[in-house]
């Protein structure tokens, strides 16, 4: 039920009712003539409504979910409390540099740490989401080629295992996408890469480890082939969690990288934002970086703008990206330190490989059984579906009954009936074992009571949704029953009558 549906005319939440405002100098013609359609509820109605909603949340704070860093890792509370210091919260983005040296120092150090951990020559913190980081990465590749008058490069190569945002990014930057295949062991097909590369190649977009949960074994050779043809290499940071502090994308030969702070660096996000995706570049792309960037000169921090970086591809946000998210990531990297950073990758890989081995023992089919998992791995239910009719979606829904969020289903598209499982480094062995037990129980049920699995979930607040109908008949906006409250000259918005307390 929506809060609007609790609404009754005249019901008020007294403590939060609008107070009579001071007279404004807004011209009469700009003042609204009707009241906004806001729900009219009591304080208790509002409290109960939102508390109930929060109880329906399935979140990392309440449950294990095997979406891992792909969705969001555990957010250490220290990151939040430090980023919420009043000096940060009250800072105005346009306040003079001299009064914001502390904030600028944090941003500068975050730039330096990200440079170090990725092996890049420069970092810009401004992109406000992963897709924006990607867009800017490819835009810089384009700016680089154009600055050299190398205008014949019209193609971006993307492996078929890539996230859908990669080809979308290439197209948004005016490139044609050339898709290349994956071989049987989950690596990019080198013959396909060699055939695709040529004088038209502007660059290659690669996620490493790939979405198949394996490390590209030929990445050095791939880098050599693309560079030899005059193209640049773009690193999609989606799976950086698997190699954090162990291998640097710069050392693999990448020219540009985006880093999802909201994944690898544990910042909170949900409901579509706010993300944060700094871009890192190799020396040849430094002149094109998006502004602002924080510089440290003569003991003082300052913003670098278009004046300092005249070939910059420009700005992505009015100020410094999602500053609050950047601060949380800064605290996170400082908590880990250089000696803690690599343990993220080690435990993420250990947990994934443990879970993969245990699920294989339990009878699940692993999509790439000859490969060591990165921080995630793929189970395929293709054979199980043929034998029992139970699909990956059915199993995913049944997991909800067992108190687990479902892992990613039906992605990557290359693997039929797949579950992409990423436990992340923060989960204990006990949690992983409990998850394996739940998976075993469901596997047992697919043979003994397949209908129970096929009709799951049974214990959630809503049962199985009609996702076909939901996609075909999108219904996102609540429509108010016709109601027209006009505001007369005497009854202005600043004087909404308060409830008379008899």
């Amino acid at each position: 039920m929506l809060i609007f549906e609790h609404s009754r005319p005249g019901r008020r939440n007294y403590s939060q009712s609008p107070k009579a405002a001071e007279a404004t100098d807004i011209p009469e013609k700009l003042l609204r003539k009707t009241l906004p359609l806001l729900p009219e509820v009591s304080e208790m109605d509002a409290v109960r409504h939102y508390t109930r909603l929060s109880q329906k949340n399935f979140s990392i704070d309440t449950h294990f979910y095997p979406l891992g860093s792909c969705t969001m890792k555990y957010n250490p509370r220290a990151c939040n409390s430090l980023a919420m210091l009043p000096q940060f919260l009250a800072r105005h983005p346009r306040s003079p540099e001299s009064t914001g040296q502390g904030f600028l120092a944090c941003m500068y150090e975050l730039q330096e740490i990200l440079k170090d951990v990725t092996g890049m020559a420069g970092v810009s913190l401004t992109p406000m989401a992963g897709a924006q980081g990607e867009l800017i990465g490819i835009a810089m590749i384009r700016a680089y080629h154009e600055s050299r008058g190398d205008n014949a490069r019209t193609e971006i190569i993307v492996p078929d295992a890539a996230h859908g945002t990669n080809p979308a990014t290439a197209v948004m930057c005016g490139y044609k996408v050339v898709e290349i295949a994956t071989d049987k062991e989950g690596n990019v097909d080198m013959a396909a890469l060699k055939a695709a590369v040529g004088p038209k190649t502007a660059g290659l977009m690669l996620t490493n480890p790939s979405t198949l949960g394996v490390f590209e074994e030929n990445v050095a050779e791939m880098s050599r082939i693309v560079h030899q043809a005059g193209g640049l290499l773009y690193y999609d940071g989606a799976n950086l969690n698997a190699i954090l502090g162990k291998v640097k994308p710069g050392d693999m030969g990448f020219d540009v990288i985006h880093i999802n702070l909201h994944k690898t660096f544990s910042t909170p996000h949900g409901g579509g934002g706010p993300g944060s995706a700094p871009v890192g570049v190799a020396p040849r792309l430094l002149p094109f970086m998006p502004v602002p960037i924080v510089a440290f000169e003569n003991g003082t921090y300052r913003w670098q703008t278009e004046k300092d970086i005249p070939q910059s591809i420009g700005r992505l946000s009015a100020h410094m990206g999602n500053a609050g998210v950047l601060l949380r990531a800064y605290v996170y990297v400082r908590l880990l330190g250089a000696e803690g950073m690599h343990r993220v990758a080690e435990f993420a890989a250990l947990n994934a490989n443990y879970l993969m081995a245990e699920l294989q023992k339990a009878g699940f089919e692993i999509a790439y059984p000859n490969r060591r998992a990165s921080h995630e791995f793929i189970v395929t239910l293709k054979d199980l579906k043929e034998k029992t009719g139970v699909t990956a979606m059915n199993l995913a829904k049944r997991l909800l009954d067992k108190g687990y969020h479902a892992p990613t289903t039906y992605f990557p598209l290359l693997v039929p009936e797949c579950l992409l499982i990423e436990p992340a480094e923060t989960e204990s062995k006990e949690t992983l074992d409990a998850f394996v037990t739940a998976m075993k129980e469901i596997l047992e049920e697919t043979h003994t009571q397949p209908d129970l699995v096929k009709s799951a979930p049974h214990t959630t607040p809503v049962r199985r949704l009609d996702d076909v109908k939901a996609a075909r008949e999108l219904d996102l906006a609540w429509k108010a029953p016709t109601r027209n409250i006009s505001v007369t000259r005497t009854e202005t918005l600043t004087a909404i009558p308060s409830v008379s307390v008899a």
């Binding site: 859908g164 039906y410 598209l413 039929p416 996702d467 076909v468 996609a471 075909r472």
Partner: protein
């Protein structure tokens, strides 16, 4: 799985039928619709568009994924199936009846280079492993 004998096929899972009037009708195969699952949206090419073999020319979107449809042969689009906009599920009901678009082939001989039903059957078996 049904793979009609009177159609031609592509490696990217389109089917083609040469009509009596010389146009070619194009759709996606039963195998393709099974992989994609319940269709929610179909985008067909504009009539009059010149397609080269291999061009991305239509989009089929299901609850699981969106997939590009590639032009099996070179030619000019002469019509698109008007039913699919409001009833994309027709592809799930009968993939060989729910055609996407028709085109006038630039060269009818191009059709001969496509897979026949036996060749497509073989392709599916090889993809299975």
């Amino acid at each position: 799985m049904s793979i009609p004998n009177d159609l031609k096929y592509t490696k990217s899972h389109e089917w083609v039928r040469l009509e009596d009037d010389g146009t070619a009708t194009i759709g996606i195969t039963q195998h393709a619709q099974e992989l994609l699952g319940d269709m929610v949206f179909v985008e067909t090419p504009a009539v009059g568009r010149q397609l080269k073999q291999g061009d991305e020319c239509a989009v089929v979107e299901s609850v699981k994924a969106a997939a590009d449809v590639y032009a099996p042969i070179t030619g000019e689009v002469t019509s698109a199936n008007p039913e699919l906009a409001s009833a994309p599920e027709k592809i799930n009901q009968d993939a060989y009846a729910a055609w996407l678009f028709r085109l006038k082939p630039a060269n009818t001989a191009d059709l001969e280079k496509l897979l026949d039903s036996a060749g497509y059957q073989k392709l599916l078996e090889s993809e299975d492993h």
